[in-house]
Structure formats: C-alpha cells, structure tokens
C-alpha cells in the first residue's frame, strides 16, 4: 500500500504520465449528487477532523514528497481543469471526463497543437488579488524550469520550452504542444499545475532562490477551495475555506483539520471514539475490524493499484517463460487476498487490473491456482527443482505475509524460494538497479491509463520495468496505442498487449487492492479522485 513517503516523488512524476485519464471538473457534477448522509441535514459549517498517517514536509507543489503534503496542496492549488465525480457505493468516484476549473472554457485545435484557455474573471487568490493567466503561466514555467522534480512532466504532453506557454491577456492562457496527446486535458487537472500567485512568489524570491522555494515550502497563497490556517509539522494542518474561492458557495464544510497520527491503531481508535471523522491509510487488518463498528462506514471502491510478484526476466531460472508460468500457476491468489488483504482486494488477472479501462484479464487469464499444472510446466522446462530469492520490504509487513504464502505454495511444486527482508533503502537501491531476482511490489498509475501503466512497468528499457521484461511485439503495440486517438482502436491495442503480457508472465499478477477510507456515520462526500488523494470540498457531516 505504498502510501509511503519515499515513493511519493516517483508517484508525482509517474503521475504525469499516467494521468492520462482523468479529469476535472468537479464542482458542477458532484453538486448534483445527493449527500449520502444517514438522517439529519448535512451541516455546511461542520468542521471535520481527518487523520493522516504521514506528515507535511513541504507545501511547495513542485517539491513536496509526502502523502500529507499531497493532500494539502491538492486542496489549496486550483488547476485549469478539474476532474468530474459521480457517486458510486456512497463514494464520489473520479470520472474520465474533465470539466472547467480556473478555465471556464477551452478549445483545442484538431491537430492538438494549440490549446486556448479562457480564465474565469471571478477567480481570486486568498489575498484577494485576481487569478490571471500570468499566474498560470508563472506556475507552468516554474514547473518546467524550476527546482522541483516535476520538470520531467510537461514533455509528456509535448510542452518542453517556455515559448510554448503564453499569456496574451489576463483572461487567456495558451499552450502550444508539439504533438497531440490523448492525455493532454487530464494532465492539466494535476494539482502540480494549480495556480501559484506570481506576485506573492516574486515578492519572496531572491537571486539565489529565483523560484521562492524557501517561502513556498511553508506558505501558500491559495487559489483553491481551502487556505492553510495553521501548519504545525508533526501535529496538524488546519485548512479553512478560502473566502476568495470562486466556487466558495459549493464548499460543503466549514474547514478541515488534518491530524498527523502516525500509528494506524491509534487512527482506528480515534475514529471509534469520534475524535476524528475520516482516516486514511488504514491497513486491511484494521479495516476488517472497523467494519463491524456500527458508528463507522467503510468507504470502499475497487482501485487499479496492482500488487505483483516481479520475476527478473534476465536472471536464471526466471528467464525461462515456462518457469514463470509455472510460478504463476502455483500462487494461491485467493488465499493471499483473503488472509493478507482480509478480502479488501480482487484478482488482478493481468497487468491492467479490472478497475482500469480496457482491462482484459477475464478474456486471457489462465493462471487459476493449479499445482499439478505448475509441476507439469516445470517438467517441460526440464527441471524438477529450482531455487531463487524473493525480496520484500521490511517496512511492509503484509508483503512478508504474502511472501510466506508464496514460498510455501512454490515449495510444494518444486521451487525453493528464500525470502529476503530488506531495509527500504537497500530494497529500492537494488530495485532501481533492476537486480532483484524476485520481488513483491505495488504500483498505482495516477491517470489510470492502460498504456501508461504497461509502458512504465513492462516496456523494454523503461526505468520502472524492474523485471526487465522485453518483448518487441508488445513494445510495438504500446507505441502504437499510446498516441492512438480513436478510443475503440486504442482499447483493442491495449487488449492485444495484455494478452501477450499475460502469456509471457513477466510477473505473477497477485491482486488489486481496494481504495479504503473509513469515516464516521453521517459523514458524506468522501472522494476517490484519479490520484486517490482526498479532495475535501464535498466532505460534510450531519449535525
């Protein structure tokens, strides 16, 4: 569950890429949703307490690394476009369409090389100054040229030079990408492109620090629904509604206090006692206990987060496809889902989990647990016993649990696995060197786009293709599909690629864990945006 700090930078970057799918608009759509409260009227002035496992490191939207900082920046910086939401099992689920944000309308030329955004006139920063296209341009340039790790993002949609960013008048913002990307609009919903006040930033920049990093790490001139009233690292961050926000009337609560409660058991206890209203990053073990508490609601939506057993395709004996297939047959998928994830997961059945568009697992999946079949494949490979190592992160106890299930199942078919529990630093070092023979890992694609998912994880030579999978046929399908603009053709290419990957078994596709947020009864408006990071404007409670 990788809501872990040092994955965050990765996530942000990736996101960009992956972003591909989602979008913004929000307010209008979600407003039509009924509040899912249980009796009593939702209270617009209600202040809610939300417990987070991590702590804010920086408030700089281009440099933060922790999940908590992600949550805060996502709620204080307003992007040009916003994701739309629709209710599903009581949760507001992010849709693939985008809607207006700071831009009330926009046009993209048919060749995709010119996008004109018309900014709303009533958008204001928390200090009362209007949000203009100059601020948006400043933000994009800071993202592109500034000190953060997100400089790599914009090239994904064909924007790589400052000349491609223009602000001809205060209400018009123009981007001129070098190619047409199906991800373009989704990309602009990223909070990392939420408007920073140019005036405030410039007032705090110096020659040594031209992008005001020293100031932005602790301060926000909000353009979004909330502003930061208090930031006490290690304790809490207090968000209050931004009075200048153009959509302030639609914010459904009177403010959010984010409590930093590092211990998950304490987060669970505080929920039960009513001291907090919403908690994130609770392990499935705790959620399975909390679901029986009548005062709580478990908000659960299948997610496209995938947990997989990576098998290094260039290391013997795993370089043999038959052996990888044997392993895939031997894994006790359902037992891991039931015992390790307490049922809060579903079979992944391929590199594109069921919750992602164009998932084709049902069609091509064949590895239902079958020890005889595994032994047979091993025999075909000319082996009776093989051995290898499986690396897990020490800090992820559920990975070790899953590894034990895998070890036992593989031992029974003649594959000896030695489990290596590695400290995170060692694990990631070796992972990034692509030198681990077998490893348990998980991944979430921000934009939930199958091509970005597969492109990052399985395309040959991709930096994050930790299993060194390489199949030219598969690569060709990805290249063709990534920029295919016809959705039906794109889905078809995606399915063909999945078919190959499932058969080649570069990983054992373990499971896809659910998005889980536990809240008090009476709380409604829990969101599940494309980046799985809570947005608070719809959150409210009765009483």
């Amino acid at each position: 569950m990788n809501r872990r700090i040092h994955r965050a930078p990765l996530r942000s970057t990736v996101c960009v890429a992956l972003i591909a799918t989602s979008l913004a608009a929000c307010s209008a759509a979600a407003d039509q949703q009924k509040a899912a409260g249980t009796g009593g009227a939702a209270n617009k002035d209600a202040k809610l307490n939300v417990a987070l496992g991590s702590d804010v490191d920086l408030l700089d939207p281009h440099m933060f690394r922790t999940d908590a900082a992600y949550v805060v920046t996502a709620n204080v910086y307003e992007p040009l476009l916003r994701q739309k939401y629709a209710e599903k099992s009581g949760v507001l689920e992010g849709q693939t369409e985008v809607g207006p944000g700071l831009a009330e309308s926009w046009e993209v030329s048919p060749d995709g090389k010119k996008a004109v955004f018309h900014l709303r006139k009533d958008a204001k920063f928390a200090d009362g100054t209007p949000v203009t296209s100059a601020d948006v341009a400043y933000t994009f340039k800071r993202a592109m040229l500034g000190p953060g790790y997100i400089t790599a993002l914009l090239p994904f949609v064909g924007v790589s030079k400052p000349e491609q960013i223009q602000a001809p008048d205060p209400q018009t913002f123009i981007l001129t990408p070098s190619f047409k990307s199906p991800l373009f609009e989704r990309f602009l919903t990223f909070q990392v492109f939420g408007a920073i006040s140019e005036k405030a930033a410039k007032a705090h920049s110096t020659t040594a620090d031209p992008w005001a990093t020293a100031w932005l790490k602790d301060s926000v001139t909000s353009s979004g629904a909330y502003q930061v009233k208090e930031l006490s690292r290690g304790q809490q961050t207090v968000l209050e509604p931004n009075p200048g926000y153009y959509d302030a009337a639609k914010v459904k609560n009177g403010g959010i206090t984010l409590k930093n409660v590092p211990d998950p058991d304490q987060r669970a206890l505080l929920l039960r006692s009513g001291d907090i209203d919403v908690a994130d990053s609770l392990p499935p073990r705790l959620v399975s206990q909390l679901k029986n508490d009548p005062s709580l609601t478990v908000n659960r939506i299948p997610s496209s987060r995938i947990t997989y057993l990576g098998m290094n395709n260039t290391v013997a004996p795993l370089n043999d496809k038959l052996i990888r297939q044997a392993i895939s047959y031997a894994i006790p998928y359902q037992a891991i889902i039931d015992k390790v994830q307490f049922g809060y997961a579903s079979m992944a059945k391929g590199p594109v989990p069921p919750a992602m568009k164009s998932a084709a697992g049902e069609e091509y999946w064949k590895y239902n647990t079958n020890a005889d079949k595994a032994r047979e494949l091993l025999k075909q490979a000319g082996k009776t016993r093989v051995s290898t190592q499986l690396a897990v992160r020490e800090a992820q106890p559920q990975d070790t649990e899953a590894a034990v299930f895998i070890q036992e199942a593989l031992r029974q078919v003649g594959i000896d696995v030695q489990i290596q529990k590695l400290p995170d630093a060692t694990y990631y070092k070796r992972l990034n060197e692509h030198s681990l023979p077998m490893f348990l890992h998980d991944w979430f694609s921000w934009g939930e786009d199958p091509f970005f998912q597969m492109g990052f994880l399985l395309k040959s030579k991709a930096f994050t293709n930790y299993a060194n999978y390489a199949n030219p046929e598969f690569d060709a399908l990805l290249e063709k599909g990534t920029f295919e603009l016809d959705q039906a053709k794109r889905d078809d290419l995606s399915k063909q690629a999945q078919k190959i990957a499932i058969d080649d078994a570069p990983w054992a596709f373990l499971y896809s864990s659910d998005y889980l947020v536990v809240s008090r009864k009476g709380v409604s408006g829990v969101t599940r945006p494309f980046d799985q990071t809570l947005r608070f404007e719809y959150l409210t409670k009765t009483g």
């Binding site: 700090i5 006490s232 409590k259 995170d424």
Partner: protein, 340 residues
Amino acid sequence: MNRFLLRRTATTLVTLFGIVTVVFFLVRVLPGDAAVLRAGPYADAQRLAEVRAQYGLDRPLLEQYGSYLAGVVHGDLGTSTVSSGSVTYELMGRMPASLEIGLYAVLLACLIGIPVGVLAASREGGWADRVVRVLAAAGSAMALFWLGLLLIYFLFYRLGWFPGPVGRLPTGVDPPPTVTGLYTVDALIQGRVDVAWQAARALMLPVLTLVIVLVAPILKMVRGSMIEVLGTDYVRTAKAMGLPRREVLFRDGLRNAMLPVITAIGIVFGYMLGGNIIVETLFSWPGVGRYANQAIKNHDLDALQGFVIFVGVLYVLLNVVIDICYGVLDPRIRLGRRSN
C-alpha cells in the same frame, strides 16, 4: 571547581569531535545516493550534476567533512534531504515537545521512585518491601508500547478519562505563544489557565505511561543503594547517637545513596529527550524521537546524522551536569582540588 570545569570542557570537546566524525563517515557508507534522493528518481544526469554542485556532493569527501565540521561548530547540522530545511532548526522546533513530556515523566518518576525506594530499603524484607519489589519487577517487565496501548485503550477509549492520542493540544485550541516551548508553562505565562489545563491533560496519558516504566529502575536503584548505605558504619553510628530516624534515612542515608541514582536518572532523561520514539509515535507527539523515526523511514540521512549528533551532544552535556552534581552531593569528589 573551575579547573575541573575547564578540564571537563576540554574532554567534552574531544568526545563531541569524535561523535561528529564517526557519524559523518558512518552515514556516507550507508546505501543511497543523496543527490538522487534530492532530485527525484526521474532526474536526468544534468539535473543530478546541478544538485551535486548545489549541495557540494561533488567535492572530495574530506572537503565535505571539513565544511560539515565547520557548520557543526556554528550550530549548523546541515540541511534535511526531505524538507530542505535546516536540521538544527527542525530539531530545536521539536525539542520542547520531547522536553515537556520527558521533564514531567522524570520528575514524577523521581518523586515517586525515591521515597518509595527509601521506604522499601528501610524495611528490607518487610511486606512493604515485598510489594514494592513486585511492582518494580512488573514495571521493568512491561513493554512500553504495550503499556501505552493498554492505557490508551482503557483510560481514553473505554473510560474516557483522558483525551485521545492526538498530540499536544486538542483540536481547536491554539498553542500559546512560544517563550519556553513548554505549552503548560507558556500558557501560564500568558495567564491562560484553560490552555495550560488542556495541555496538561494531553500530557497525562503519555507521562503516565512513561512514569510507570521509569519508576521501576529508579526505585530499584534507590533501594539497592540505600540498603548498602544503611549497612555502613557511619549510619550505624548516627543511629547509635540517637539521631531521629527520618534524619538518618534522608541526610546520612539518601544523600550518600544518590550517586548511582543520579547517573541512572541522567541516562533515563537523555533517553527521554532523544530516543523516545515509541511513546511519541503512539501519542502522535511531535518530538525529536519521531523526527528521527521519520528520517529513517524517508531515508533522510542528513536529518538522521543531525539527530545522532544532537543526541550525542545532549548525552555529553548531561554527563557533565551529572559530574557536577556528584561534586555537590559528595564533597570528597569535589573534583579538581584533589585530583592532583
């Protein structure tokens, strides 16, 4: 006394130098590239080179060591990889939280442990002594995190006597303006008795958890040391001369028994300030221990290095204070005068 202080300061400086050196080089041999960590995993070679240059990571190790050492002398423990903030500043910001919890816990543990230890020693073998010994054994056998969980579950969740583990103040109460950094004290300085009370309430459970565990070693130390002292000739003489029992116990007995106890208290207090990770995590307490814990989790080696040096300095200073206390308590070791 002055000469003693002077000499003590000199050895202290040597010790500190050793700590900084060992920690600096130890951190360099740990896995993980600081530049990669700062720049993010997708940074290209050019960006990495910029970061290396900006943080001086491209210079020879000895040169880096030299500038780090120079920084430490000026109170600069470096820059955190994760937050890009000054490690000294961040540690000092968290110190009062650890200090407040540690101060009250150690104080209370002494207030309980010392008299009870004296009582047990004065009735060695009696029922009071037996009860105390059982309690002390129970206290030292109790795992801190387990005790904390139990106390939170029963006293907060089941009974509701104490506020929940959400840090130093309940939601909605603003911290008092910083004077000492101790919320209870600052609030009183401001005349805000209500805020002081809220801060005290938030302190109760974590302090109680610590006191239960800390009383045990203090009590055992006092008891053991007292029994030894009470068997000495001078105590027998004092008793024979008909001095009141209380005076014998506390003036002749306790004062002489305090030397090892002071050492134990000093070590416990150092631990409170620096290594109190379990209690700080359980109670969401924003102290120094949790800072270190986060630094480990985030692989923030610069922060970790700063923390280790900080704690090292703290221990060394505590030891100096303890040495001085020795001299105060026992004129025979009034150092410097006799050591020639």
